[in-house]
Amino acid sequence: MVLSAVSKAAVQRILQHGWTKPVLFALALWPLTGLVWAVSAHTLGPNPAETLIRSLGDWTLRFLCMTLAITPLRQWTGLSALARLRRMMGLFTAFYAALHFSSYAVFDMGLVWADIVRDVAKRPFILVGTAAFVLLLPLAATSFNRAIRWLGAARWQRLHRVVYGIALLAILHFFWMRAGKRNFGEVAVYAAILAVLLGWRAYKASRGTRYFMKLGSHSAKG
């Protein structure tokens, strides 16, 4: 609806091109490359651990937003080829989340598990972030085609709807982390993006339910 038929066809062709996925893969690794470079060049500032952990958290949230944006974008633009990029973006979200968590565990907690457990229990924002990460693991683990076949499409889809809950936990994690200084500017931006992406799904679902209910009542009569 947004794109003219000609440009839509062109974008669709680009999305289906054999190089699209490798290029996207390389782009998705770019933030990590930058951070690894900054670590080795000692340009992460006076508190490199803090900068590293926070940057990885930022990128986790960005990849989560990009992953959740794919389906609404596909529906708004009719670019059906976007769907083939969704799994890679979802896996990169899990990848950056794993790096975020492990850099916290290693650089902030010195990988002392007793301290990590105590810290997770003590700080609500750490607890919420950890919960989001743990919930992300089964989704990453069932991302391949055979898992969909094993679980059955319906069950697989139900499982993967957990990502909406993960999004809410992630934004709460970010909100609580910034609450100490009441610095909510960036939190509001991510919250607004997620509100649109999740709100759109809720809107579609409510319309869909009514549509199917109507359809059901008709067929019952028919």
């Binding site: 006076p46 508190n47 651990a49 590293l52 650089f107 010195g110 301290d115 105590r118 810290d119 009441r182």
Partner: protein, 324 residues
Amino acid sequence: MLLPKNRGFVHPIASDITPQSVFHTRRNWVATMAAVAALGPRVAWPQTSAAARGNALPGARSTLPGAMTMEKITPMADATSYNNYYEFGTDKSDPAQHAHTLKTRPWTVTIEGAVKKPGTFGIDDLLKLAPMEERVYRLRCVEGWSMVIPWVGYSLAELIRRVEPTGNAKFVQFVTLADPAQMPGLRSSVLDWPYLEGLRIDEAMHPLALLAFGMYGQVLPNQNGAPLRLVVPWKYGFKSGKSLVKIRFVEQQPATSWSLAAPQEYGFYSNVNPKVDHPRWSQATERRLGEGDLFAKKRPTLMFNGYETQVGSMYEGMDLAKWF
């Protein structure tokens, strides 16, 4: 606890002795000063040195017990770019970026309340009030990081003695500048402005409580609290108010900004204490900044930030978990 004989300061290990680079910096600086002095007063100062900008503020090495830790000094670039000074923004990099709008001249500090000689001191009078000393203190932030900073100033007690507190002066309140025209961070509601801090009178009179005008041999950079600030090394960093404009001697424990904002998290005393956690995080360890190594282990936080020998007696018999 088994303690070594009290020699007044901690001298832990040989490797903590001032690094050669710092030592040479000082030697170069001394050499520059000597060269400039030799050229005579009419010759312009070299444009590149701190002295050229009129920024030099030397101090004699302090002989006060505990005032010269031998630990590795944090690089000045880190101590002047990673700051909590919310009047200029809440990000660590905000003060260094935005504090250039702070006007440190003219500047006055008003002394009022329970003193025989209240009044207003100009910054130039305060600079001449007592001999400048260099003191190398550990700085422990309540957030869990620490630095080692060479400050220049003199004991707050020097000023307090001159204004002659009366018997009613049980506490001292410190009021810092809050000018929206100079401080963009005042638009934020994170704290009530102006930023207020306070000490008990015996804490304020303790010789380690420093009225600082400089650091690293130079006048304080704006982001570090120019033109004068408090440095109370055995308390969490936020107790050391920056850019002071008023010192008030009072009978009742005064309001302090953080305990107004979150009374269950920040107490009036806020002594560094590894055994009393912040409600939201542990205070047992700290990250020493400026060591450049991502894999460096956090170090254990010391009771009273390592100044227990000097200040512990002020808190004898107090339940430090209650009076946190």
